[in-house]
């Protein structure tokens, strides 16, 4: 039996097909998000079925998650990304106690109990300054491919202090830093540290380890190091971090059967 998880995120849609018996991923795919979320999700889902030679009737259940979850008409049910990320991470890292998920438009911190259930969560709701969107703005402003940010920030010797709590004003700060001759790598390191500080602040005083870093931003090099530096502790990057929410949704779809 196969079940599907569809994570209709703010920037991308992810689909995972999971074998319910072996709990192994049969197929997975990602596409950019757009206006017609439902059509995009269906198209990606159909494409995945076709590429895997799977019939629609073989898919016993579909759970949708992510901000666009309610727009995915083919889903049997919807579950929030908080629950799905927790389940996905725990599947991949069974002793995980804390999850940091930084996506395109938000970030969240999820605390788990010993059995893997969500104990508590916190999300940023003020600004894009703690999200992937901020990294995109910075990369564009600096004329750097987003995937090279980590390579450059590793060369920083004197990370710039980014004081602003707002992505828009932070961009203004970056313009000022560039004008004053600050090196690109120092600006990037400063921005990554600012994002890490903002996200870890969601935790308050206590963070239980192991901490797993997931979401699309976990694929951006340098962010893991920035988080470790702010936390003063090791961070595990979730395997295939962009797919964790969809994986969790697929697992939950299997559990419901």
């Amino acid at each position: 039996m196969i079940c599907a998880g569809i994570d209709a995120g703010s920037r991308t849609i992810k689909v995972v097909l999971l074998d319910a018996d072996t709990r192994k991923v049969v197929a997975k795919a990602v596409t950019d998000q757009g206006v017609e979320q439902d059509k995009l999700a269906q198209k990606l889902f159909q494409k995945l079925l076709k590429s895997g030679g799977i019939c629609r009737k073989d898919v016993a259940g579909i759970v949708a998650t992510g901000y666009g979850r309610n727009a995915v008409a083919i889903a049997d049910t919807t579950i929030t990304e908080i629950t799905c990320h927790a389940v996905g991470v725990r599947h991949l890292v069974p002793d995980a106690m804390t999850v940091i998920d930084i996506g395109g438009e938000d970030s969240k911190l999820i605390r788990l109990d010993k059995s893997g259930r969500v104990r508590d969560f916190a999300m940023n709701d003020r600004c894009a300054a703690g999200t992937g969107r901020f990294l995109e703005i910075v990369a564009r402003r600096l004329g750097v491919d987003i995937h090279l940010l980590g390579e450059l920030s590793a060369k920083s010797r004197n990370p710039a202090a980014i004081s602003s709590m707002c992505a828009v004003f932070a961009e203004t700060e970056i313009i000022g830093l560039l004008a004053s001759g600050t090196a690109r790598e120092d600006i990037i390191a400063g921005v990554q540290a600012a994002i890490a500080s903002r996200v870890t602040a969601l935790a308050g005083r206590n963070i239980d380890l192991p901490l797993v870093f997931t979401g699309g931003v976990a694929m951006v090099s340098g962010m893991e190091t920035a988080l470790e530096s702010v936390l003063g502790a090791g961070v595990i990057v979730s395997p295939d971090p962009q797919m964790t929410g969809a994986l969790g949704a697929a697992i939950l779809a299997c559990d419901r059967k």
Binding site: I79, T80, M123, G204
Partner: protein
Amino acid sequence: MTEFPRQISLQEWDRRYEQLHEAGLDEPSYGGPISRHIEDGDTRLLKLLYDNSAAVLRLWNFLLTEEDRLHKARAEGRKLVGAMKDLGTIPVMAYSFDNLTAFYPDGAWWIPCLMELNSGLLSVADKLGIDESFCPVRAMLGAFVTGVHFPIPELLICSVGATCDDFSAIAQRLNSLGYAILWWEIPHRRRPEPDEPGVNLPGGFSAPKSQVEFVKSELLRVKTALEELAGERLADEKLSAGIKRANLVRAYLAELRRLVFTAALCPLPALEMLVAEMLAIHFCSDQNEAIMVLKGLLDEATARIKKGTGFLSPDAARIFWVNPVADLQVMNLLEQCGGRICGTEYLFTHALDAILQDIPPTEALAQMALADPMAGSSADRAARICADIRTFGAEALVISRIPGASHCALEGQVIGEIVRDKLDIPVVELEIPPLTDSIRPMLRTRLEALVETVRERRKK
């Protein structure tokens, strides 16, 4: 007339109203269909879901006709008192006089929501330098300047000191515009030192006797001003009688809260409970009618519980809610996400506890005023919240922030951490502006995630 409990839209209420009317509904003078208030510009009403009982019809009509009542009171020669910020103390004193009507100008904070930002009040406040970095209660400033939403009272009284900083700033700005204000000070409540005489306050708090004496002296100053306005001396017996009436309101509310928050099936929705709780602080400008409205709600809730009827699924997540919401629609949203309210702390728990009747009345009011959750530390608030969560059996806590409110920036983390440590239940903070339409998906995600978390935790 009683129908199976349901939440219905305003349009459905029009049909329901006709049914009730045909069945011989006995309405007060301010009765009528709820939809008539749309003519006042309260367009948010079109988007809310309402309980379908006659008791709730009366509640909404009572709430939405307060301005008419104030004008009528003035026309009848009664003097109007604007009680600001203390949330529950001065109106008890004012309603002890025969010819005074007190109201809370602060209540204007819901006008931007009800009128969906079309009231213009916030832009008036903006122009006076009180911009969106302040709490939405700045709408009150606009209401005073425009004079549209309530008549300007003969006497304005405002508590200051250990109160909300924004409110003090807004009231000072009002003062600077020429509106005379009688200020009275509420000190920051502290526990007595070991060698200092102390007083146990309602709500489980304590304070040095010297602080109670100080507040008493402040209240005596207020009492003198009220006596001058009323042209009558307020004897202790009369103030005691006023306290007794206020306690009747509080007793009805206490019982209503107990019934609704602990019932197996929710007998009254969160939105109407929020409105009902507000009656404790301002009586909606008619103390006796407030008692009747609350009695009606209590009768309805009791009848529903007896019949085993109510709203929402029996497995709805039991949520304790801290701070009132600037957008009333969020109360509906919580229920749509699978939650129900089982306990609240809307910043005025001191107005819900009975005022002592076996001590001199001014002393009793001073003790009650000092038990104001805003007058003490966030840790004190958290202790009371933990106690109430246990009482009502809530499974999660929502701390709802009011944008711009200075206390919200400081209290959430303290309350959240104490509740997590003591009770090990999930805590979520949300920021609720006067209109949440554009952030509804985000709010929905958080509330749904909270409900999912609660349900998952039940699986031991």
